[in-house]
């Protein structure tokens, strides 16, 4: 039986530190001044907090961050102007703006050469199809949606990815649950993890889907199947459980979890119960700071693509 002390809590600030240091050193050494513009068009306190955090991290690392507050009605024109403005290297939007499909529309309005969040259709599509470069010559790596990318980096940091196995298959043998199937985090994350060899149960209110490494020749990507299995059947099999449920009422029942599970929460609300440390070997209570580091990393890439 595990004890409370055997669980290691890993903070996002710890994981992000090496990325932040790398980015800071890179910017200083190359004497570049990458500029990121964030558009805030809502009154959501969580978005405002995220914007403050982006500003703070950017100031520390040497990124020129400008927050532009615009009305919802003016946002699309403001994005179009920033797409065309050579002084702007990266663009991000604090969602939700309108919510629903109109936000999906806005995501694709950001030029792919400035899309630090990696949410335009081409980048999301490339994740599903395991296409890793933007160009045929393979000189420009695709931008990966920043929250799923942050979670992958955390999984690497905490040793879930096994570096002994060849690149592209380092999750082979792992079973992972992702509780969230949004188009911007949960679904691309499930695809990425299965592309890297994991067996992934994607769980949301509409049911459970199983993502596995695909065999389809045309797509070279993961395979997805619907399953009749229940959360009670699936969760106890999982080595890693990743949650992102935007509801204060949702809690993953600790008793379902495997002894020694790796538990990661990317919701802004606590999705695990208070006794999680009695069951988990590693607990990551939030991922936001790693996400901001990934935004900056994507910004540097796009800055370099723009100079080509």
């Amino acid at each position: 039986m595990s004890t409370t002390t055997s669980c290691k809590t890993v903070l996002a600030s710890k994981v992000s530190a090496s990325f932040r240091n790398q980015i800071k050193a890179d910017i200083k050494e190359r004497n570049i001044h990458p500029k990121l513009v964030g558009f805030l068009a809502n009154e959501d306190p969580a978005a405002m907090k995220y914007a403050d955090w982006t500003a703070k991290t950017c100031a520390e690392t040497g990124v020129d961050f400008e927050l532009r507050k615009v009305s919802k009605m003016d946002l699309e024109e403001a994005i179009t102007e920033a797409n065309q403005d050579k002084a702007v290297n990266g663009i991000m939007i604090y969602y939700p703006v309108f919510g629903g499909k109109q936000d999906a529309y806005l995501q694709s309005c950001v030029s792919k050469f400035k899309d630090v969040e990696g949410l335009c259709h081409e980048f999301v599509h490339n994740v599903y199809h395991n296409i890793r470069f933007m160009d045929e010559e393979e000189t420009m790596k695709c931008i990966i949606p920043c929250t799923p990318l942050a979670i992958v980096k955390i999984l690497e940091y905490i040793g879930v990815y096994n570096p002994v196995i060849p690149y592209g298959n380092r999750l082979y043998g792992r079973t992972i649950a992702v509780v969230n199937r949004s188009e911007i985090v949960g679904r691309p994350l499930a695809a990425m993890l299965s592309n890297d060899g994991a067996k992934v149960y994607s769980i949301d209110v509409n049911g459970i889907q199983l993502f596995t490494r695909g065999t389809g020749l045309s797509l070279k990507s993961h395979k997805v199947e619907e399953t009749e299995a229940t959360v009670e059947q699936v969760v106890p099999q999982c080595d890693v459980v990743i949650t992102g449920v935007p509801s204060a009422n949702y809690k993953m029942p600790t008793h379902l979890l495997k002894e020694g599970v790796v538990a990661i929460n990317f919701s802004s609300l606590a999705n695990f119960q208070e006794d999680i440390k009695q069951k988990a070997s590693i607990f990551v209570p939030s991922v936001g700071k790693v996400t901001v580091a990934m935004l900056e990393r994507n910004l540097l890439r796009l800055h370099d693509y723009q100079s080509k």
Copy 2:
């Protein structure tokens, strides 16, 4: 006071006849065999009915239509294969598949060179920005989302567009309500009508937006403002009221309508009350057959672009 007999009911079959005849003659004369593939991945009886209708119209006009029934989980791979298959000239999907943002994702998975529905991001974006060509040389006109296009064709047929006014401004002076602000019909339709000079009230459960001809130099497109006005204030001002509410409980109150209004319903359910003909000068109870004609028209365009 108008009488029941003074209202002209205009059926979609009547409006679509000239388009169908034109398409049929064009296909026969040029001895071409354009192929349209429709993907059905749901059990929705309305979708099945729409598919039957597409098949029937295609058979009449000489389009080679193939309905492919696939599971939801296999749909994206099937689209990718059809994108790459030179024997396929056009692709359409019977929505909803997953619903929500995942369907928005699927819309953009269809190659723009085969997207007869005009729902990929580039085409929808071009509607909002009043960009009318796919290429800088202006050799390929954009595909326009087919239901909004069908409604424009109906408005032309019934004389709401005024051909005396120069092209691009033929709705100048008209006030139009569009009751639906979906990303695939209501919002692009409001944009198109305002790009053509109308004052458009876009109404949905989240409120009312006013679309007018824009003055923004960078976008050359319509302007959108939120308004505090109510349905009771707005609807009586409208020369044309276009409804698309997918609910059996929704009815536009006849007493709000202007005497002699033009009433058009694109919902599969009746959105006007039974006494609509006592108020309207023209009543168009459905638009589906014109939509299918527009699908075929888009198919012919794409067929020609592919041969370039």
